[in-house]
Subunit: 217 residues, 2 copies
């Protein structure tokens, strides 16, 4: 059976998946890059910040990298919230094409949940953005169909992910807790009392300082 | 230099150190015993729940136990908040002597912060409860004096601990994160943005499922 999976979803020690003050220059607000440094440092991501581009051997190759690599294989479609696709107000900019340039790292049909749909955007590398005004379960049905038997990635951000978790639509959740206190922003876990009881939970800390938590059913 | 230390302070994955609905029958409210099962299961605590009393070999003897054991040695006094000493309203009960019976597990002078002081309570095993109406820094001065060159334990609960953290009065903080979602209660980390930046942080997960975080300066 295909599964709905979440990968590399990073939160602070106090539970925030994004900071305050989101803008085109600050996709995660005052959090900056701190929630994702562990990921950029992996070999899978090219060891960004550790070496120049093109250095294939750059980056960490341990537990952080093992988790980071799971982002792609077996995925046939992604669903993301409007808050992930662009900064506040991107719906007013007809030329906005996402944060990721012309070859986004999704490489599948990608459904962007928004109350203001627009025509699909065909990007390089296999990513097509479909803009849909749909509830979580409806969006997942669209994604299953597009994924054609493969798994579906639930991409976040935190507001939409919380809705998918609360609706019982997620089969595998990988959360990465970074030991920083952001103090403010959007929390992942609000309103999810006892959610974990339907899942097998495994926790492993990494020498990088982050902690990987996996919830699987 | 003597230090102010916090040990075995347990929180849920969503950051709650206690649940809702605290009472004499439910010291942690709807959290029940779930935040401290890891600790009760250690050899240091007698492996409660794993074997009968008097079985000295009962209990886990790994990383959880190593941390649990650090609660006592080198400590000359404790400070605790009113919320740790008793259930809501204990101040109206002149006969309330704490949760712990006649031989509480502190074995030192123990300062209970309350706006309604009462005469000291001399217990067995070296614990004397002193009830003081004092701000965090004042209370710590009292405790340093009583500790006579040893360290001071900051005992919690979360409301008082947050005040001590915000005031920069804690030198070593050991937090244990339990992978459950309580959903409601009293959070530890609120209002502490960037607090961790003054500390060395180490994180290690345990086979029991909990994660130990230490913050040291």
């Amino acid at each position: 059976m295909p599964r709905a999976r979440v990968h590399n979803f990073s939160i602070s020690l106090d539970g925030f998946a994004t900071g305050e003050g989101l803008s085109a220059d600050a996709p995660f607000g005052h959090a900056g890059h701190r929630l994702h440094e562990w990921m950029f440092a992996t070999r899978h991501w090219g060891g960004l910040g550790l070496a120049g581009p093109g250095d294939a051997a750059a980056g960490t190759a341990g537990v952080d990298n093992a988790f980071a690599e799971r982002h792609g294989p077996g995925i046939g479609a992604e669903i993301m919230g409007a808050g992930k696709f662009g900064p506040p107000g991107w719906q007013d900019d007809p030329g906005w094409r996402g944060w990721w340039g012309e070859n986004p790292p999704f490489h599948t049909p990608t459904f962007v949940l928004t109350h203001r749909p627009r025509p699909p955007l065909v990007m390089d590398g296999g990513t097509t953005f479909h803009f849909v005004d749909a509830a979580p379960a409806e969006a997942l049905d669209l994604a299953w169909e597009a994924a054609d038997g493969l798994d579906v990635r639930i991409g976040g951000g935190p507001t939409m992910l919380r809705e998918f978790l609360a609706a019982g639509l997620v089969d595998h959740l990988h959360v990465v807790q970074v030991p920083i206190l952001l103090g403010r922003g959007v929390r992942l876990w609000d309103g999810l009392e006892a959610w974990e009881q339907q899942y097998d939970v495994e926790v492993v800390s990494s020498p990088s300082g982050v902690t990987h938590l996996t919830f699987t059913r």
